[in-house]
Symmetry: C2
Subunit: 365 residues, 2 copies
């Protein structure tokens, strides 16, 4: 009966033809007048008139129509593991800041570190005709990304990289950050420092782990393979699991360099389960400097990354790849610093007395 279905919006928005008509010119002329790049092709007076009419009518070009014709969407895809990881929001904001200024916008997707989801999401992004990708889910071996790269999909990796060095990336200086952490702990007198490494299949995991070994040796500290444990994921749970394992195996250590802040938080959990106190019994250094770390119990000492800048830099780089494809891709390493807080303390007492399960020195109240 009354099954009339008017096209969702009767298009109250004025279109180019309306502007053209009102200005007494052809749509083509109006189009050229509106576009700064082609404005030179039309009489200055005419252009002025078109502009005025357009503003008066409140004309807004329809990006859909434009995209269809120009095959450009001014749109990029953002692929991150999980937005609720506090590391990402500041990065995302940095990215959007740059994109917005350049007239681009971004689709945001969360893979939850599931390769199948990643595949699906990237497919979907591509079918939405994104012009580029910013990807934070790289694994060292990453056939999907490598194949996309070979297909000429513009992308820049953030945070993590693949083995393939040709793919542009923006990462923090993991090696320097790790060295900073070790140096700090060594300076506090720690000799047996453990490392709860991130997963071996991520660049950050292996780079930080190898930087850790180097730093340990440089400072002449205990270079015991038992002191390094790999976490299967960058999560609090894995951190707790790894730390507990260390404690339960009776591995002695007075400090730990966590692969990232979440893993460090896991250490906190493990400590409280084992009746240890941080930093009195064990010092901990995190990595990333997520928000609110200064309010933790205790405030976490960590390697601070320029989150916002990572986003800014990545977005700039991607725009460059898009707008001047000839340029050689490059990768940048952003500087880090150490945020010293309350989770690290100088080693008191004599020596070697480290934390081991069962002989906690400060039982929990």
């Amino acid at each position: 009966m009354t099954k009339e279905q008017p096209p969702p919006r009767p298009s109250e928005q004025p279109k180019l033809r309306d502007v053209a008509k009102a200005a007494g010119v052809h749509a083509a002329t109006a189009s050229r007048a509106l576009n700064p790049d082609t404005r030179g092709l039309v009489n200055a007076e005419t252009a002025r008139r078109v502009l005025k009419v357009a503003k008066a009518l409140g004309y807004r070009p329809n990006p859909i129509a434009r995209s269809l014709k120009t095959a450009r969407t001014r749109t990029v895809g953002l692929v991150i593991p999980d937005l609720t990881n506090p590391l990402f929001p500041p990065i995302v904001r940095g990215i959007e800041e740059v994109l917005e200024a350049a007239g681009y916008s971004a689709w945001l997707t969360n893979t939850d570190d599931d390769p199948r989801r990643e595949q699906t999401l990237i497919d979907s992004l591509r079918s939405r005709q994104v012009e580029g990708l910013i990807v934070a889910t790289a694994r060292l071996r990453h056939p999907l990304l490598e194949s996309l790269h070979r297909q000429g999909v513009r992308m820049v990796l953030i945070n993590r990289r693949t083995q393939e060095p040709d793919i542009p990336s923006v990462t923090a200086d993991d090696a320097v950050g790790t060295a900073l952490a070790v140096k700090h702990l060594a300076g506090l007198g720690h000799r047996r420092i453990a490392h709860l490494a991130g997963p071996r299949h991520t660049s950050t995991g292996v780079i930080r782990a190898s930087a850790f070994r180097h730093a340990i040796r440089d400072h002449g500290l205990a270079d015991d393979p038992e002191l390094t444990v790999e976490c299967a994921q960058w999560t609090e749970e894995e951190g707790a699991r790894a730390m507990s394992g260390l404690l339960e195996r009776g591995v002695e250590c007075t400090a730990v360099v966590a692969g990232n802040d979440l893993i460090a938080l896991g250490c906190y959990d493990a400590f409280s389960r084992h009746g240890l106190s941080c930093p009195d019994d064990v010092s901990v250094v995190g990595f990333n400097d997520m928000p609110f770390l200064d309010k933790l119990r205790p405030p976490l000492t960590t390697v601070a990354l320029p989150h916002h800048d990572i986003g800014v830099e990545a977005a700039r780089m991607l725009l460059e790849c898009i707008e001047e494809p000839e340029r050689h891709p490059r990768s940048v390493l952003l500087p880090v610093s150490l945020a010293v807080r309350g989770s690290t303390a100088s080693l008191r007492g004599s020596t070697g007395a480290g934390a081991t399960a069962g002989k906690a020195r400060r039982p929990r109240r």
Copy 2:
């Protein structure tokens, strides 16, 4: 010279015509075969053939072209104050989960609580032809949103509302949450409880404040106007400012209900500046249950919101508004609960002895 500029992608993607040709039918038939709703119009055998060819060629319909013709983008806009506020990521994920399942996707924008930016961003979203808006930046008086609503722009408000009750919204049950907080503190023996209210121009601010007064009276507690202070913004800084003001004016209180978690964090700052200890000297309850609150010093007792569900519910509601515009808009109030942690303690000692500046009972070490 070599200034050849091939259209960005020579469109290696097969298009509908390619599929049609390969299947030996007209594009129109292929289109109908591919669309489940119109598949009935074509011979079953033909449809099968088209589907097979499409899959073989890896055909993906071009959503741009489709949108141009159908005037539907299957896209919505998300307007939030600031993604780095940990309250939002879980909500956003809830939203995207529902949208994704329904074949929609979302543009995310941050207003930084700046009305001009908000205006610009919403304009931009509209020109990108979003089919609806999810807005988390509502103020009680909000001409922009009200006008959009009158213009028939589908939207649902989250977290906060406007005065205009017709606009659908999804919010937590602020009144109950506040009552829970007060009841908890009263149960611990507190008599003089302060409230650091959120801004008066937000619904959450006024609802929580008024619920606070009600609860205070219901429990027969000190109903002193001095005990309520308004924060100009929902930020840590404002919380610190408000709490410090209270302390410096010598207003006695042994507990405070903060307008939200960030304001509660500000209290922590103020306490440490004034040499007070939480919860020994003053108890604090937050609101929102942001992530990681359990790791704070002390772990913050707070009113827990169903973040994810807020997103889910809002997205569902928006889709409903879009797909069946006839339905009457509704608003939902989601249940909250109290997460009791370490920032609240029972009132020890005798009576009335509250926290005031200058006579801190536990000077900071």
